[in-house]
């Protein structure tokens, strides 16, 4: 088996998921210049709600195809998390819209802790496992094993990214979002209800996050009340790598980070002579984050920071 191709495939799968979560960070940052640290937790809640529904569905209708069961879970979790994100923005962030930037940032961390604890109370401290209902078909491709699930994740993620791209570039709402990101005041002068555009941004980000949350739990076969923390941090790193505030940047950053991480994990044993193992894979995301912040703070596709201020 070719370790390079295999890790490249694994990295692309992981990277697609990072990219989806990173979109939520970058869209909110683009409009509010707020790092919504609760976004990782929204992803986690999405996975948890979906898993609960999937568990119930699989119990009452064992003959239903696995894909439909998962789809059912997603369809319940999406509106739930849209509502959650709408509420978070309205209750926690909107009153602080004119406060110094540190205040909403700290609030975001607070919201994230609240959601983690809430999830712990509801779903417990144990790992919730993803029932084995999805087909486990595998293919051989250039010496790598690729599962049907992996293909589905990448294809679905790319479809969502393309859809979001169209929404932002071609629709009236998307244009209003871009205008609001550049100047809230002037957007209001055009007749844009900026509060509504900001709500829409949070809601869209949450819907995408749910899908990412379900993907990651299906991929690893489990979910956990704490999973949003690391996933959120990595997605945030991906957003920074691509240039935070830039939607194409989040997509690129996510995919790139996934590949860097997977290749790093694949070769770290060889590089360090077996001293460090693949469980150090999380390290790479943060190496990348630090590297970007030191050498190119505006990210790969971001504008110069001075332009934003």
């Amino acid at each position: 088996m070719d370790i390079f191709t295999q890790q490249l495939v694994n990295g692309l799968v992981l990277g697609s998921i990072y990219a989806l979560v990173a979109l939520g960070y970058t869209m909110v940052y683009g409009i509010l210049e707020l790092i919504n640290f609760a976004h990782g937790e929204v992803t986690m809640i999405g996975a948890m709600v979906a898993l609960s529904v999937i568990g119930v569905l699989a119990g009452v209708a064992p003959d239903l195809p696995g894909v439909l069961v998962v789809l059912g879970g997603i369809l319940v979790a999406i509106p739930a998390c849209m509502l959650l994100a709408f509420g978070i923005e309205k209750i926690a962030y909107r009153p602080l819209r004119k406060a110094p930037r540190l205040a909403p940032l700290i609030t975001a961390i607070g919201v994230s802790i609240i959601l983690q604890n809430l999830a712990m109370l509801i779903w417990g401290r144990q790992y919730v496992s993803f029932p084995e209902i999805l087909p486990t078909t595998k293919f051989e491709f250039l010496g790598a094993h690729i599962s049907l699930l992996q293909i589905a994740i990448v294809v679905l993620a790319l479809t969502i990214m393309a859809g979001l791209w169209l929404l932002v570039e071609k629709t009236r709402l998307g244009r209003a979002m871009r205008a609001t990101a550049q100047s809230r005041e002037v957007a209001e002068l055009m007749g844009v209800n900026v509060d509504r555009v900001i709500s829409a941004t949070f809601i869209i980000g949450a819907a995408i996050a749910v899908i990412a949350g379900v993907m990651v739990s299906a991929y690893y076969g489990l979910a956990h009340y704490y999973m949003g923390f690391m996933l959120g941090l990595k997605a945030f790193s991906a957003a920074v790598l691509g240039g935070i505030g830039n939607i194409a940047g989040a997509m690129l950053g996510g995919l790139l980070l996934g590949v860097i991480e997977a290749l790093g994990a694949g070769y770290i044993g060889d590089i360090t002579g077996g001293f460090l193992g693949s469980h150090y894979q999380d390290v790479f995301a943060f190496f990348v984050l630090i590297g970007v912040l030191v050498f190119r703070p505006s990210g790969l596709l971001g504008e110069r920071v001075a332009n934003r201020a």
Partner: protein, 235 residues
């Protein structure tokens, strides 16, 4: 009845009173100027009209009270402001900026016709319609800002210092356009530091000083007023 009627308008930022109770009105079809030095409260007045800063007093547009409404709701009632510094969306194309001006409209054909009209008024914009607006020169950006505001078919167009930071030739061009827009029946309220220009194109003017209106009247009369000549026209 006046299109816009303002009575006892006060605006303050924290403890600073920028506008200290002013009365003014704009009738349909008029071109009215608000002149005065830096810091007289002119821009604050315009921002107050649009709800960008809160004001007290009685502000009526078409007889309807505007005080307390959100900016987007005021815009929906037919006011448009070209803000100081133009406020174009630099990372949107020229065409997209114009589309933003028509954000509240749903009549596709009407929007299309008005876009063609805007390009006739400002041929420079037509040449550059696919460019990012941030790449335009200052004068072109001002043209875009005015064209964009017109896309909303406002019943009252407010311009905040349209000549600011522009080369003399461009200033003349912009003012020719403003005069043309006024001739076509758009009601305008223009804030301007350049009193000379303002009094030339407007029918009536208000002179603001330290948050109050010191003088008002027909522009040709104000242009001959010795006080004005000394303070604002450099005689």
């Amino acid at each position: 009845m006046s299109l816009l009627m303002a009575q006892g308008i006060k605006i303050s930022y924290g403890g600073i009173h920028a506008v200290r109770g002013i009365d003014f009105e704009v009738a349909k079809g008029e071109l009215v100027c608000l002149i005065g030095a830096n810091g007289a409260g002119k821009s604050s007045t315009l921002k107050g009209l649009l709800g960008l800063v809160s004001h007290s007093g009685d502000l009526r547009f078409n007889g309807e009270r505007l005080t307390g409404l959100a900016t987007h709701a005021i815009v929906a009632r037919g006011l448009a402001l070209v803000p100081e510094g133009r406020g174009i969306f630099g990372r949107l194309t020229v065409a997209e900026n114009l589309d933003m001006g028509a954000y509240l409209r749903r009549d596709r054909d009407g929007i299309k016709a008005d876009r063609t009209r805007a390009y006739e008024l400002f041929p420079r914009l037509a040449e550059r319609n696919k460019q990012l607006a941030g790449t335009l020169s200052g004068g072109e950006q001002q043209m875009l800002a005015i064209a964009r505001a017109l896309m909303g078919r406002p019943s009252l167009l407010l311009l905040d210092e349209p000549s600011m930071g522009l080369a003399p030739l461009m200033v003349r061009k912009i003012y020719e356009t403003i005069a043309r827009i006024a001739q076509e029946g758009v009601t305008l309220l223009v804030v301007e530091q350049n009193a000379h220009l303002a009094l030339q194109i407007s029918q009536r003017a208000y002179v603001m000083e330290s948050g109050v209106i010191r003088l008002s009247g027909p522009s040709h009369a104000l242009a001959r007023d010795p006080q004005i000549r000394a303070a604002y026209l450099g005689d």
